[in-house]
């Protein structure tokens, strides 16, 4: 089966060869085209997702959602973009002009750069870095910088408060995010995402089987990293108006929103790649293009869960948010990270536990042991949280009762 993109690439190469350009320049032009295609794909998916998200949130809340502009309201994002163009571009007089204007661009750049290393199929990817996971960690974490720049440069107290909250949340949740990102690296012995995907060849070889708890940690902490409900304290409308982007209007505000939507889909794609096997699926070896459908299917399935969470869960309190991170997620991640290499080291040569359907369902001893470790850590964590809650409950009820305000006694005449 011929690969349409490879065909297009060959045609382009021939075209460029006829132009007699120096080889260095030819490569730069080719890369420029490839990069533009990837960035456009990311942006188109984002634009589509703004519609999808409103539609699904509406259905969950028993509404219809956008249905006026175009068939099923499909042209709504375009109408939104035109509306944003007609808004007035204001920079507050008190703002720090340079940082204020760079922040919305940086918010998108930090997310878009992750797409450079995402493999869509076994053949289609931007580039194959041998340190891709580290690259994602590095690039993803400078979105924090955009938030801080926006909040600080707006010279607005609500914006600054929003930025403080945002930065404390984003950097806190980066810790369990990076720790759980280590688990697929440990299991695959590689930081290259393509290699990590290749190792998850069959259904029971997906890392969600070997490390379900790590997948859950990664998912929760990346949802917090995006700042979506239930972790949307950074833009709590009822408390700090809109948080760090309160002063932004029109497309500058739109860029923060676009960055958020793109980031949400990006984390869904990363979860699909690192834990759900990315483009792996039946028949991929014969027709690599099928991989695109598997990858997108898995990504949108994870994306649907984030939308579901967004339209179901209420916002959590800031002290609960920090306690969840530092007292539950980080200790679990550290425990898992201590046990996983030990279990892996001793079970790596043990071979196959069982195999069925001609090797389509193959569970090795290694994965079974890792799964058992994950289940035990989960049970231990639940038990620890339960005991802690019980102890706190007893301690709190031992406090003396607060004095109650009583109506003033009538003074004796």
């Amino acid at each position: 089966m011929t690969d349409p993109l490879a065909l297009l690439g060959d045609w382009l190469l021939n075209l460029l060869a006829q132009l007699n350009l120096p080889p260095g320049l030819r490569q730069v032009i080719l890369y420029l085209l490839g990069v533009s295609v990837i960035a456009t794909v990311a942006l188109v998916i984002t634009i589509f997702n703004t519609w999808l998200e409103r539609k699904i949130a509406a259905r969950i809340q028993d509404r219809l959602g956008p249905n006026r502009v175009g068939p099923w309201g499909l042209l709504q994002p375009i109408a939104d973009a035109i509306k944003m163009l007609t808004k007035e571009d204001t920079t507050p007089a008190a703002a720090d002009k340079v940082a204020y204007n760079i922040a919305p661009i940086l918010a998108v750049v930090s997310v878009l750069l992750i797409w450079a290393v995402i493999p869509f199929t076994s053949q289609w990817f931007g580039t194959q870095l041998n340190v891709a996971v580290l690259y994602i960690a590095a690039v993803g974490s400078f979105g924090v910088l955009a938030v801080l720049m926006a909040g600080w440069s707006s010279n607005n107290k609500y914006a600054l408060l929003g930025a403080f909250r945002a930065v404390s949340q984003l950097i806190s949740y980066e810790v369990p995010l990076f720790l759980s990102l280590l688990i697929p690296v440990l299991l695959a012995r590689s930081m290259d995402i393509s290699v990590i995907v290749e190792k998850q060849a069959t259904l029971l070889e997906m890392y969600v089987v070997a490390a379900p708890l790590a997948a859950l940690l990664f998912f929760i902490s990346s949802v917090a990293e995006v700042g979506r409900t239930p972790f949307d304290l950074l833009e709590a409308e009822s408390e700090i108006v809109a948080g760090y982007h309160i002063e932004y209007s029109g497309f500058k505000f739109g860029m923060f929103q676009a960055g958020e939507f793109m980031h949400t889909f990006t984390i869904a794609a990363l979860t699909a790649l690192l834990f759900l096997g990315g483009w792996q699926g039946p028949g991929v070896a014969q027709a690599p293009i099928l991989g695109l459908f598997y990858f997108m299917g898995k990504s949108f399935a994870v994306y649907f869960v984030t939308m579901w969470m967004r339209s179901t869960l209420p916002r959590i309190r800031i002290d609960h948010m920090q306690a969840l991170n530092w007292k539950i997620l980080v200790p679990i991640a550290l425990t898992l990270l201590m046990l996983t290499p030990i279990v892996d080291y001793f079970t790596k040569d043990l071979g196959v536990l069982f195999s069925a359907f001609g090797g389509a369902l193959t569970l090795s001893w290694r994965f079974a042991a890792l799964l058992l470790t994950n289940i035990l850590v989960t049970l231990a964590a639940i038990e620890a949280v339960r005991r802690n809650a019980k102890r706190n409950f007893v301690e709190r009820s031992r406090f003396p009762e607060r004095p109650v305000a009583r109506p003033p006694r009538e003074e004796a005449a």
Partner: protein, 118 residues
């Protein structure tokens, strides 16, 4: 020859242009009828009082400190995670001990009350 870092470099440039383009278009085509009132700081219609860049809650700073310790040390774990199965048992044990010391640091911060939001 495929050069990954050249690709990433070009990607950074293009990724900067993509969001900058609509913002520039918006700046050119958007209406401009600015008045001094419009350019004031928006704090729900109240006039802003005093400096914005004031002292903030110290807890934010403490979280940042704990984060810094973790973030720097996690980066050291990535090369170890790639190569741990080729190491002798002692190498694996050393890595696990390193993570244990990290966990110990978290426990210390917890007991010191650095994680309480009050």
């Amino acid at each position: 020859m495929h050069n990954s870092w050249l690709f990433i470099g070009i990607f950074i440039l293009v990724a900067g242009v993509f969001p900058a383009l609509p913002i520039i278009l918006f700046h050119i085509f958007g209406p401009k009828r600015q008045t001094p009132e419009k350019l004031e700081t928006y704090e729900c219609g109240m006039e802003t009082v005093g400096q914005t860049w004031v002292q903030f809650k110290v807890q934010y700073y403490i979280y940042a400190l704990i984060f810094l310790v973790f973030d720097v040390e996690i980066i050291f774990l990535y090369p170890w995670a790639v190569a741990f199965d080729k190491l002798p048992l002692l190498g694996v044990a050393a890595g696990v001990l390193f993570i244990f010391l990290l966990a110990d640091g978290l426990w210390y911060a917890w007991q010191k009350g650095a994680l309480e939001w009050s």
